[in-house]
């Protein structure tokens, strides 16, 4: 069960930091940081740097994404920003613009 859910229609302007799972269906503008999983659902719009253990993007993210484990850009997802993660996948139908650093 998600620790934090930003529902559709909800907007957060500022920093969101957490030690639990975060799911975004709405808007986050600022900064999003968790030590757990981040999911940007297909309706989610994030204008923020995102940092988590794993980051899964099916919505829109404008900002740098850092994950301690992996970043997955799903079909329909759009990411503009740099990615820093050990593993990074871009599904067919996703769009991405940015740099990737897969430090080992």
């Amino acid at each position: 069960m998600a620790g934090t859910v930003v529902g559709e229609g909800l907007s957060i302007e500022g920093d969101l930091s957490s030690d639990e799972e975060v799911v975004v269906h709405g808007n986050v503008r600022g900064k999003l940081t968790t030590t757990d999983q981040v999911s940007i659902a297909s309706g989610g719009v994030v204008q923020a740097d995102v940092s988590g253990a794993t980051v899964s993007i099916a919505g829109q993210v404008t900002g740098d994404v850092t994950a301690s484990e992996r970043v997955d850009l799903q079909t329909g997802g759009r990411l503009v920003g740099d990615v820093k993660a050990a593993r990074f996948t871009i599904a067919d139908g996703a769009s991405f613009k940015g740099n990737v650093d897969m430090e080992m």
């Binding site: 529902g7 559709e8 909800l10 907007s11 302007e13 500022g14 930091s17 030690d19 975060v22 709405g26």
Partner: protein, 202 residues
């Protein structure tokens, strides 16, 4: 049905939260929360900022104003410093609240019944509650003095309600708009005038 959001126990939001739908806060928000739906604030949750929603149910700690457009319930265990405004307010025994609590929104406080001198509620006596990061506009219990909309028939000057001049601190008579009679100057009326004047002193 609009979505329900959750700010979990391990989450801190530094910034404002707004939008449609309802919201449950178990973590911490440093900023204002403004939603069209309901807000539930858990016992361990802390909000430094105002909370505005339809039905509010507050069991945690708030430093800021609470406004429920439909209802506002403060449960035992809640600790609130800020103003509470809602047409329907409940504060359970065991809850601690400091601030103005109003069910009538921005009602004018100059009620038809004259306030007696003994009655306090002077504006300056109520020391302002702890500073709140984002005071919600308006419903402050600055009693007696000019509430934003003055009572129904406002006299020429909006900030001089009729009754409470008895207990106003202003030493100068609040009434006496300049347009009114200037200080009486006895015109030279002839002999009678002097005589009258003397009598008046006597």
């Amino acid at each position: 049905m609009a979505a329900v959001s959750l700010i979990g126990r391990g989450t801190v939001v530094r910034g404002n939260v707004r939008g449609d739908g309802s919201l449950e806060i178990q973590g911490r928000v440093e900023g204002d929360v403004t939603v069209t739906g309901d807000v539930v604030l858990g016992e361990e949750a802390v909000v430094r900022g105002s909370i505005t929603g339809a039905q509010l149910n507050i069991a945690g700690t708030v430093q800021g104003d609470l406004r429920g457009t439909e209802s506002l319930l403060v449960e035992r265990g809640a600790r609130v410093v800020g103003d509470l405004t809602s047409p329907r307010i409940g504060v359970a025994p065991g809850a601690l609240v400091r601030g103005n609590v109003r069910t009538d929104g921005e009602a004018p406080l100059a009620t038809p019944v004259a306030r007696r001198p003994g009655l306090a509620a002077q504006p300056h006596r109520s020391a302002a509650p702890a500073a709140r990061p984002a005071p919600v506009a308006a419903p402050k219990l600055e009693p007696v003095k000019a509430a934003p909309p003055p009572p129904p028939p406002p006299p020429p000057k909006p900030d001089e309600p009729d009754e409470p001049d008895a207990d106003e601190m202003e030493s100068e008579p609040p009434s006496a708009p300049a347009a009114k009679a200037p200080p009486p100057v006895v015109p030279a009326l002839g002999k009678h005038a002097k005589a009258k004047k003397k009598r008046r002193d006597g």
